[in-house]
C-alpha cells in the first residue's frame, strides 16, 4: 500500500486561515451563524476552525454544534460492517440561522445528504452552506458541491484520502493512499 503526502501541517494551517477568512467575509460577526461539524471526523476540522476564529480573528459569539448522521444514512443494512453512532452535541435550534456544515472529505456527497436530512430535526435554517477540507472531484453520486473548499483533489476511486489531526494521530496531514 503506497501512501503519498498531499498536505503537510504547514499547508493545512494556511488553508485553515484562508477558510476562516472566507467565513468571516460571508458571515461578519457570526451572530446569526452556526457551524456544525459532522461526527466523527468533521468535528476535528470544525473545532479547529472555531478555535481559530475565536482566538486569532476575535469572533466573540460563535455557536458550534456536532452532528451525528448515522441514523439518517441511506446505507443502513447495505454495508458489510454495521454503522456505529457517535454523540450529537446540538444544544440549540437552527431555525432561521445560517448554517455551515463542516466535514473533512467530500466524496460521494451521501454524508452531506444525510446531514441535510438530520438538520430538519432542529428546525428550518435560513440557509445551509458546506465547507470541506478536501473536495474529491468527479466522484460525486449526488448533486452536492462545497461552498468553501480547502483543496480540490482528482483522486481515482482506488485511492483513499486520509486526513489525520494532531488530536488523533499527533500530526496534521492529508495523505493519498492506494487501497
Amino acid at each position: 500500500m503506497s501512501k503519498k503526502i498531499l498536505l503537510n501541517s504547514k499547508d493545512i494551517e494556511i488553508i485553515l486561515h484562508r477558510l476562516a477568512c472566507q467565513l468571516i467575509e460571508n458571515h461578519n460577526d457570526f451572530s446569526n451563524t452556526i457551524l456544525i461539524g459532522l461526527q466523527p471526523r468533521g468535528s476535528y476540522l470544525a473545532n479547529r476552525l472555531a478555535h481559530l476564529l475565536k482566538n486569532e480573528y476575535h469572533v466573540k459569539q460563535l455557536q458550534l454544534g456536532l452532528l451525528d448522521i448515522t441514523f439518517y444514512r441511506d446505507d443502513f443494512r447495505r454495508r458489510d460492517v454495521p454503522l456505529e453512532a457517535t454523540a450529537t452535541e446540538m444544544d440549540f435550534l437552527v431555525e432561521g440561522k445560517h448554517v455551515v456544515i463542516i466535514d473533512d472529505v467530500l466524496y460521494s456527497g451521501r454524508s452531506v445528504r444525510a446531514a441535510l436530512t438530520a438538520m430538519q430535526s432542529y428546525g428550518r435554517p435560513e440557509s445551509i452552506e458546506l465547507l470541506v477540507l478536501i473536495d474529491r472531484r468527479f466522484s460525486r453520486h449526488l448533486p452536492i458541491q462545497p461552498d468553501y473548499r480547502g483543496r480540490q483533489v482528482d483522486a481515482i476511486n482506488e485511492e483513499k484520502v486520509l486526513v489525520t489531526w494532531n488530536e488523533t494521530h499527533k500530526k496534521d496531514a492529508v495523505y493519498i493512499e492506494l487501497k
Binding site: 451525528d68 441514523f71 439518517y72 443494512r77 460492517v81 454523540a87 446540538m90 435550534l93 430538519q120 430535526s121
Partner: protein, 309 residues
C-alpha cells in the same frame, strides 16, 4: 463491538455482557434523539414490525409502539382480544399469516413461557420477547439496569434488592440475569410463598426481613403483587402483606441512608409502595418509563441491522 451476538431478543439469559454494553451505548444516542424538538429518525423506513400482544399491556405496548414510530418503521398492531385467536387459530398460523404480509420483526407478549423461543424456531422474522408468562421480560430488565446506570453511574458492584411477588414476575427473573451479568449483587425479599423454591440456584440470596434488606441495598426494585396470576391464596390478606413488605416513608427514613426506588409498573398504590414514596425524589419510576423508549429503540435498531435485504 457493533453488532449483537444474538439474532432475536428472547431473554437476557441468551445475551453477553458486551451485548448489554452495546444496547446501552446505542440507547444513549436515542435518548438524545427523543429529547430533540423533532424526535424522529428515518433509519427504519423500510422495516415493518408487528406488535403481537396476546396478553394485556399498556405501558410496554405504548413504549414499543412509540420506539418503532420514532425510528420510522411501519407497524401493525394486534391484540388477542379482537382476533381470530378466539376462533381457535394456533400461534404459528396467526404469526405466519401476519408474516405473509412481509413483516421483518415481531414483538410478542404471550401468557405461555417460551412462546418467543418457540416462534423463533418456526418463523422467519426477528423476534423480540415483550414478556412470556412468568419467564422473561428482557426489555424491562434492560431499561431497569440502564436507569440504575444513569442514576448511580454504573451497575457493577451495586446491591439490588428485588421486593415482592418474585414467583409470578418475569421482570424479576430478567432483572436477576441482567444485573448479575453486569456484576451487581442481587437479593430478593418477599413472603416465602411468593419466592421461587430454587431461587438459590441462581446465586440469589433470600432476605425475609424487609428492613434488613433495605439497609443492605443501594436500589430497591419493588414488584407489583400480581393478583391476576394468583390461583390460590399466597398470603392471608393484602393488609398483612403491606405491613410486612410494603415500602413506606417511615421505613425509608429509618435507614439512615438514601436508596433508589424502582417499580416496573403498574403500581398498586398503598399495597407494595405508598404514594409518597412512589412520587418522591428517590423514586426513578418515571425515568424508567422514559428510558424504556430509548432502550427499545436501541434493541429494535440493532436487530434491524441484521434483517437481510
Amino acid at each position: 463491538m457493533s453488532e449483537l451476538s444474538v439474532e432475536h431478543l428472547l431473554g437476557i439469559k441468551y445475551l453477553k455482557s458486551t451485548d448489554i454494553d452495546l444496547i446501552f451505548k446505542t440507547a444513549d444516542h436515542f435518548k438524545e434523539v427523543i429529547n430533540r424538538p423533532i424526535k424522529k429518525v428515518p433509519s427504519l423506513r423500510d422495516i415493518t414490525i408487528a406488535n403481537l400482544f396476546f396478553e394485556n399491556s399498556t405501558r410496554t405496548k405504548l413504549s414499543f409502539e412509540l420506539a418503532e414510530k420514532r425510528l420510522s418503521a411501519d407497524i401493525i398492531n394486534f391484540s388477542a382480544g379482537q382476533s381470530s385467536v378466539k376462533k381457535g387459530e394456533t400461534l404459528i398460523d396467526t404469526v405466519n399469516n401476519i408474516l405473509a404480509m412481509k413483516v421483518d420483526i415481531v414483538v410478542m407478549r404471550h401468557a405461555n413461557v417460551g412462546a418467543g423461543v418457540f416462534l423463533s424456531r418456526h418463523v422467519d422474522a426477528k423476534i423480540i420477547n415483550a414478556g412470556d408468562g412468568t419467564h422473561e421480560h428482557p426489555t424491562q430488565a434492560l431499561l431497569d439496569s440502564y436507569s440504575i446506570r444513569e442514576k448511580l453511574g454504573s451497575v457493577k458492584g451495586k446491591k439490588i434488592l428485588i421486593v415482592g411477588d418474585v414467583l409470578h414476575s418475569r421482570v424479576a427473573l430478567s432483572n436477576i440475569f441482567a444485573l448479575q451479568l453486569q456484576g451487581a449483587e442481587v437479593k430478593v425479599c418477599g413472603p416465602t410463598t411468593l419466592i421461587p423454591k430454587y431461587i438459590g440456584s441462581l446465586g440469589v440470596e433470600v432476605e425475609k426481613n424487609l428492613k434488613k434488606g433495605l439497609e443492605w441495598c443501594d436500589v430497591a426494585n419493588v414488584l407489583r403483587v400480581q393478583h391476576e396470576r394468583m390461583d390460590i391464596k399466597y398470603f392471608p390478606s393484602t393488609r398483612e402483606y403491606t405491613q410486612l413488605f410494603g415500602i413506606n416513608k417511615d421505613i425509608l427514613d429509618s435507614l439512615g441512608k438514601k436508596i433508589v426506588i424502582m417499580h416496573p409498573g403498574p403500581i398498586n398504590r398503598g399495597v407494595e409502595i405508598t404514594s409518597d414514596v412512589a412520587d418522591s425524589n428517590e423514586s426513578i419510576i418515571l425515568n424508567q418509563v422514559e428510558n424504556g423508549v430509548a432502550i427499545r429503540m436501541a434493541v429494535i435498531y440493532l436487530l434491524a441491522q441484521q434483517v437481510k435485504r
